[in-house]
């Protein structure tokens, strides 16, 4: 990592000595987490991102929620919740759900794997810098865990009128949420740029 850096939130100039894996470095002046490097951070980031992607694929394939009322019932998958909203004439609501619970987390995962996998070989994929910038911009807009709480609240809200049932996809989405959160705890901004700095582009191999 760079020797001289500045705190992101209070601009204090800091001299960084060697950052060992497993350190959490706080700004002495404002308490901002300057860098948090986990043990085996790259391996864990890749492992958690891969398993999150698998759980996400699983979550898209099966019923997410169903409900029953006097023998009549309905069932939706995760993707149907978006298309259903659109077809009923609520494009903005549909777009918000699509972005916050499907597109943002998915782009985050695909982008992470695209950037991180070649780093294992000390290489950098073309466009890694642009993708990394995109990743950091997307991160706050992924609302996977907020959505899960929303599902639970929906169950309770409608409980007096009908009973909602959680489908297998819901549990896959829970697992996906846990894996994604775990991956993101190992994603450190300074560390990521340090990895990119020390990796070489592929073409120098030839």
């Amino acid at each position: 990592m760079d020797k001289i850096i500045a705190c992101h939130e209070c601009d204090l100039l800091l001299e960084l000595s060697e950052v060992k894996p497993g350190t959490k470095l706080l700004c002495p002046r404002c308490g901002y987490v300057i860098t948090r490097t986990g043990h085996q951070a790259l391996n864990r980031l890749i492992a958690f991102s891969l398993s999150a992607t698998l759980f996400f694929a699983y979550a898209c394939a099966f019923p997410f929620l169903s409900f029953n009322l006097q023998g009549r019932g309905q069932l939706i998958t995760l993707l149907q919740s978006v298309s259903e909203l659109y077809q009923q004439g609520h494009p903005v609501l549909s777009l918000m759900v699509a972005i916050f619970i499907i597109l943002a987390p998915l782009l985050l995962l695909v982008g992470l794997l695209y950037v991180l996998l070649p780093l294992k070989a000390g290489r950098r994929n073309p466009g890694s810098i642009v993708v990394s910038k995109l990743l950091l911009a997307i991160q706050p807009w992924s609302m996977v865990e907020v959505f899960l709480i929303g599902v639970l609240v929906s169950l309770i809200k409608i409980a007096t009128m009908a009973s909602l049932l959680l489908g297998p996809s819901f549990w896959a989405y829970v697992a996906f949420s846990i894996m994604l959160t775990a991956a993101l705890t190992y994603l450190d901004r300074l560390q990521l740029w340090h990895w990119l700095d020390s990796a070489k582009p592929w073409r120098t191999v030839q």
């Binding site: 760079d2 001289i4 850096i5 500045a6 705190c7 992101h8 939130e9 209070c10 601009d11 204090l12 100039l13 002046r29 404002c30 308490g31 901002y32 929620l65 169903s66 409900f67 009322l69 006097q70 009549r72 309905q74 939706i76 149907q80 919740s81 978006v82 259903e84 909203l85 009923q88 609520h90 903005v92 609501l93 549909s94 918000m96 759900v97 916050f100 810098i129 990394s132 910038k133 950091l136 706050p140 609302m143 907020v146 959505f147 709480i149 929303g150 599902v151 609240v153 929906s154 309770i156 809200k157 409608i158 409980a159 009128m161 009908a162 909602l164 901004r189 300074l190 740029w193 700095d197």
Partner: protein, 209 residues
């Protein structure tokens, strides 16, 4: 009045911290040499943008709370709820923890965010010097909790997408759902456009070093 950068800050040395990759570069460069993001000592027009977004968010907060967020049609009769009405209904049903969670996420957090960010902006404009550490922490908190306000929008989306049984039982979104989603997005943008480093800048009549 020109800010006098704190002598311990990077800006006082003419160094700009890249907002995206955290690399320090001479501030006369326009783009970060590592990631090509635009470089600046402080986010340009940070306070103006934050104020504008806060004002928009505050205006949207009114319809978000007055208009119905959800309309439930059951066997010919229809009932609609505002956000607060939904909280009251959950409370009457005895779902106290859920009612409290929704009350905090949908009512307290957006309001607190608007007030805290407005106060931070005005404290910077009034060249307030006291307790910078606490003010930075407060800022960090508003950035952290903002997204949790989206719970109610997701509840509406889930119920509308799933519960459609015609006359028997059907759920429609109210106008407040979009207004409320707008409040959450706009206050998140307001928090992002506020530059907490302004809290640490000193102000005076001297020229910056």
């Amino acid at each position: 009045m020109t800010p006098v950068y704190d002598p311990h800050s990077a800006a006082a040395q003419g160094l700009a911290n890249c907002h995206t990759c955290g690399k320090l570069s001479a501030s006369h460069l326009h783009h970060c040499p590592r990631c090509h993001s635009p470089l600046h000592l402080r986010i340009p027009h940070s306070l103006q943008y934050t104020w504008a977004l806060l004002l928009t968010g505050a205006l949207l907060y009114i319809p978000a709370n007055i208009l119905p967020v959800l309309q439930i049609n059951q066997l010919g009769s229809s009932s609609s709820n505002t956000i607060l009405g939904g909280v009251a209904l959950l409370w009457e049903q005895g779902s106290y923890p859920v009612a409290i969670v929704i009350f905090i996420a949908s009512v307290i957090i957006p309001l607190a965010k608007l007030f805290v960010l407005a106060w931070l902006c005005s404290s910077v404009q009034r060249h307030h010097q006291a307790r910078p550490r606490e003010r930075t922490r407060l800022y960090r908190l508003t950035e952290l909790v903002g997204r949790w306000s989206m719970i109610d929008v997701f509840v509406v989306a889930i119920l509308v997408a799933l519960v459609q049984l015609g006359n028997l039982l059907a759920v429609q979104p109210g106008a407040a759902a979009l207004a409320f989603g707008g409040v959450v997005i706009i206050t998140m943008l307001a928090a992002m456009s506020f530059d907490p480093r302004l809290i640490w800048d000193k102000y005076g009549n001297q020229h910056p070093q």
